[in-house]
Symmetry: C2
Subunit: 270 residues, 2 copies
């Protein structure tokens, strides 16, 4: 079903069995290339729409090897291994036949009913409507989202303090134009946290995600049943050292269900 | 420098520029194939010993597509993209020219000096020597480690309780025959936690790691300077649902330095 939502336009892919095409979107542009969340979602869309795809997305890892230039790109999609329960995919994003700019692996799995238990506790938060929308910074991709910080609002004018600021954030995330959350937008939102180093330092510094891994903890049917347009998200960092920082995060449904966990390692210059 | 430590024998690789060979080890055998940590370390060894390798291991993701059969295997190693600061690698493990049994990506990076900050607090723990060694279960690979549980010792005879047990564990991990910890053993240890579902259910159930991601937060020189044979490790799970569980963990030096973080998604039947 075609959608005119900017997110669906930005993650559109065409044709292809083993080779798909996409195009970068000015609406989701970051410092030196497309917002990584939309690149990840575009890769996942090619897999979900692939005729051989079976089961639900379970795990996605995206390695950002080099900036993607404005314009078209190719997705070389390969089903490396499949059995009755799972599929292992490999995707290489290239432009003009060059080296991969993005290298991704994904696991799809049959989400069969099982014992279910959620030891993690949902974060406490006031309702979305009661939290103030974070103002636009002028950058392209954040304008496609509605960020509502409950804790850890970025204070980018503050600058380095005597002691570093906390890298923790708790916020509601919604598409700016509300869109029912599916696996694609959930994956994109898992990369929609601001760099933890910006929070800790109180300033923008050169920054880029190098590798992102996101796990889905619900089936597609379960996510559809939630029928939501926003998630409650938390993100934190454990260490900044030798030009790299970690980040780990959780994406929760308003009903208190853990939808996805995510982690990434990112370059910074400070 | 050749070593007769079982870990070095189990992760040995030979020859090759783009194609390396390895062999499974009965010393690190799990339920239906080699212990995943040793498979990951074998992949990483092929990269570290690769003539084109530059920089330090930063991020490794290993997708376990299918059990590896006892015997020899090939590692198809490809440097997908490189620049002055980082390298992106792709490794496929196959046997007899079949589909990949393991698919891995790795990022190597120049760990240049930078602002450094460790917001995560080291777990409190009594010294290694004061904690009792966990008894052998009879399985092969755990016998190669010395596990000393401080919290969350597995109670596999307990069985399911009215409420699930905590999936959290805190423990010292050392090679059974002490071996100075390097990136290889650190990666292997990042997969050396028992299945969180075993802890939560108080029983062994069918289980298998599907995808593992580990980030290194120190340079090789920094790790060598620690000069340690054991790590303090914590692991926990956030959710068990529809046949899959997450796991996230931290590996700390005795001096209180966060060496690596790890996450994995694993299949279980319960």
């Amino acid at each position: 079903m075609p959608s005119d939502h900017l997110f669906d336009q930005a993650t559109r892919v065409t044709a292809g069995d083993s080779r798909w095409q996409g195009r970068t979107s000015p609406d989701y542009w970051a410092f030196v290339g497309p917002f990584g969340g939309v690149t990840a979602a575009t890769v996942l869309r090619a897999l979900i729409e692939h005729p051989q795809a079976s089961g639900d997305p379970l795990a996605v890892t995206v390695n950002y090897c080099a900036p993607i230039a404005e314009g078209v790109f190719d997705l070389d999609v390969r089903l490396a291994k499949a059995n009755r329960s799972s599929q292992h995919w490999l995707v290489e994003l290239t432009q003009d036949g060059g080296d991969p700019a993005t290298l991704a692996t994904a696991v799809f799995a049959e989400r069969r009913p099982s014992w279910s238990h959620q030891p993690a506790k949902p974060p406490e938060a006031p309702p979305f409507e009661e939290v103030r929308r974070h103002p636009d910074s002028g950058m392209s991709w954040p304008q496609q989202y509605d960020f509502r910080f409950i804790e850890g609002r970025p204070q980018l004018g503050a600058g380095p303090a005597d002691a570093p600021h906390s890298p923790f954030s708790k916020l509601w995330i919604s598409d700016r134009k509300p869109r029912t959350i599916d696996m694609l937008s959930l994956l994109s939102m898992s990369d929609a946290f601001f760099g933890r180093v910006f929070h800790a330092r109180g300033e923008l510094v050169p920054f880029g995600t190098v590798s992102l891994t996101t796990y889905f903890h619900i089936s597609r049917a379960e996510l559809e049943a939630e029928n939501i347009t926003r998630v409650l998200a938390v993100a934190d960092a454990k260490v900044f050292n030798r030009s790299y920082q970690d980040q780990h995060g959780e994406l929760w449904s308003p009903s208190g269900r853990l939808l996805a966990t995510t982690t990434q390692i990112a370059y910074f210059k400070a």
